[in-house]
């Protein structure tokens, strides 16, 4: 292992970590701003220009608040909960391809921390671990509301993980690979093969798997515990759900991990279904500006897609009311899973017909 490779990866990891924290911090501001706009208010606008320093103020407040560990709680697990939530939120971004390779000082750098060939399985593993942070925190609080929130989170995440996995299988049947880098590369450009009557088609997976994407985004909402699936912290039934007893930085870690999760799942959705870093006329751009600049443009495009999805998360949150718990489980088990299985069957039939032709 050469030193340059090590430096490259360390820099990449640091940058991605910093970006995901920065995006998460500003998502808190964006959430409040968007909530305000949708409700005819202006939102926070005192700290800095139009509230641009509000995340720093919020973070500062979280740091300087008193940390309370309830006497009846299990102190070790009480601290472990938010740490685990934050950790699992942060490591998910390791397999996401942020762009094509760029060239710096004669060295080709892949804009992906690691291209493991089971990238999607890794994402699934991290997502499943995410519920442990909530579960441990809620249980360790030794509070009925927290425990209720934790139980809800656990059963909800487990139910929706199945539908999420099944909705992805149809996509994997088409792509034939689990590596996120290959899946992103397969969606090269935007339109492939001339006019539509010459057999041209959209390359992005959304146009091949609209139902799969719908199922996936619903499950992503549920996995991130966002409205309309925010039953684990439903504030008018369970005070604040699993983080009722938390204060100070540990509460901040929980809230922060929710926004990082949102960022990562937006990135996964953009990569899997909306072409990742690909954009229309990218071959033209590559020949005009050179591959490095075109790749950087691709990163910008990916971030635009991610920001759109984050906006969509918030837009949904301030539009749709929360599900009742039995409705939630009904939707997960009796609607999404059968639909996902039907999607697999249809995809299989269509792939076979296309191969036969």
């Amino acid at each position: 292992m050469e030193v340059a490779f090590l430096i490259e990866k360390v820099v990449l990891v640091t940058v991605i970590f910093a970006i995901s924290l920065g995006v998460a911090a500003y998502s808190t501001l964006a959430e409040r701003k968007i909530a305000a706009f949708l409700q005819g208010r202006v939102g926070p606008h005192r700290a800095g220009w139009h509230g641009s320093l509000q995340p720093l103020a919020d973070g500062g407040k979280m740091f300087f608040k008193e940390e309370i560990i309830p006497a009846e709680s299990s102190a070790f697990l009480f601290i472990l909960g938010p740490s685990l939530a934050l950790l699992t939120a942060c490591i998910g971004s390791a397999v996401i391809p942020w762009g094509q390779s760029i060239e710096v000082a004669g060295r080709v750098i892949e804009l992906q921390v690691t291209d493991i060939n089971v990238g999607i399985l890794y994402i699934f593993g991290v997502v499943s671990l995410g519920v442990y942070g909530i579960m441990i925190g809620g249980w360790a609080s030794n509070n009925k509301f927290s425990l209720m929130g934790a139980i809800r989170a656990a059963s909800q995440n487990i139910s929706y993980e199945i539908a999420m996995g099944l909705s992805l299988i149809a996509l994997l049947m088409m792509s034939g690979t689990l590596s996120l880098k290959d899946i992103a590369a397969q969606q090269h450009g935007f339109w492939e093969g001339g006019y539509i009557w010459d057999g041209g088609y959209f390359t992005w997976n959304f146009f091949k798997q609209p139902l799969g994407f719908l199922l996936f985004i619903i499950c992503a909402f549920a996995e991130c515990n966002r409205t309309p699936f925010d039953l684990p912290e439903s504030e008018n039934e369970l005070v604040a759900g699993y983080h009722t007893e938390y204060s100070g930085f540990k509460l901040g870690a929980y809230l922060f991990s929710e926004y990082i999760n949102m960022f990562v799942s937006s990135a996964v959705m953009a990569t899997l279904y909306w072409g990742g870093y690909n954009y229309p006329f990218m071959d033209l751009a590559s020949s005009a500006f050179g591959p490095t600049l075109a790749a950087i443009l691709g990163v910008v495009v990916l971030f635009m897609k991610i920001f759109f999805f984050i906006f969509f998360f918030m837009w949904i949150r301030w539009t749709i009311p929360r599900f009742r718990y039995d409705q939630l489980l009904h939707l997960g088990w009796k609607v999404l899973i059968p639909l996902a299985i039907a999607n697999i069957v249809i995809t299989g039939i269509v792939i076979n017909i296309i191969n036969y032709l």
Binding site: L38, G40, V42
Partner: protein, 165 residues
């Protein structure tokens, strides 16, 4: 049951149609509504800089009035304190000395006049009780503070500022 008023309406609950049951059309309708709201006029009043107009019978902070010559009208008769249902008003009376005629209208005046803003319910009974038209609740909103003692407003805050001449 027989309806006596003939105004009874029987609500029919039809089973939802397929389009209603998949919810997505109504979700998109809702999304369109909230998106439209983003571009509507914002209702926010930027409070300390802007204030909302108040009605004519608005009751805010008390002010102790002066007469047309700039003399304090209050004679410390105590009727406002008597009328006060929340026991918020206290005062100490004093006799006007020679040479203070330009300050106080009558021979007796309030040396100390305190309103406890935590007790006050802004009912306006003191205003009605006052025979000298000396107290009116025509001030701004009473602001928040940190300490209980700071809510006891003395004459320094209550008395109208002297006329500029």
């Amino acid at each position: 049951m027989e309806s006596l008023s003939n105004r009874k309406k029987v609500l029919e609950q039809k089973p939802m149609s397929f389009m209603e049951r998949i919810y997505l059309p109504s979700i998109f309708k809702g999304l369109a509504i909230t998106f439209r709201h983003m571009f509507k006029k914002k209702e926010t009043v930027f409070y300390p800089e802007q204030t909302r107009p108040v009605s004519e019978n608005w009751r805010g902070m008390h002010s102790l009035k002066r007469d047309e010559n700039g003399k304090e009208r209050c004679t410390a008769c105590g009727l406002c304190a008597l009328a006060c249902p929340a026991e918020a008003i206290t005062m100490t009376a004093a006799e006007r000395k020679k040479g203070e005629e330009h300050l106080y209208r009558e021979e007796k005046y309030a040396a100390v006049y305190e309103v406890n803003m935590l007790r006050c319910i802004f009912c306006g009974l003191c205003e009605e009780a006052c025979p000298k038209e000396a107290i009116y609740l025509d001030g701004p909103v009473v602001t928040a503070d940190y300490l209980r003692k700071d809510f006891i407003y003395g004459k320094d805050k209550l008395v109208e500022s002297p006329f500029k001449s």
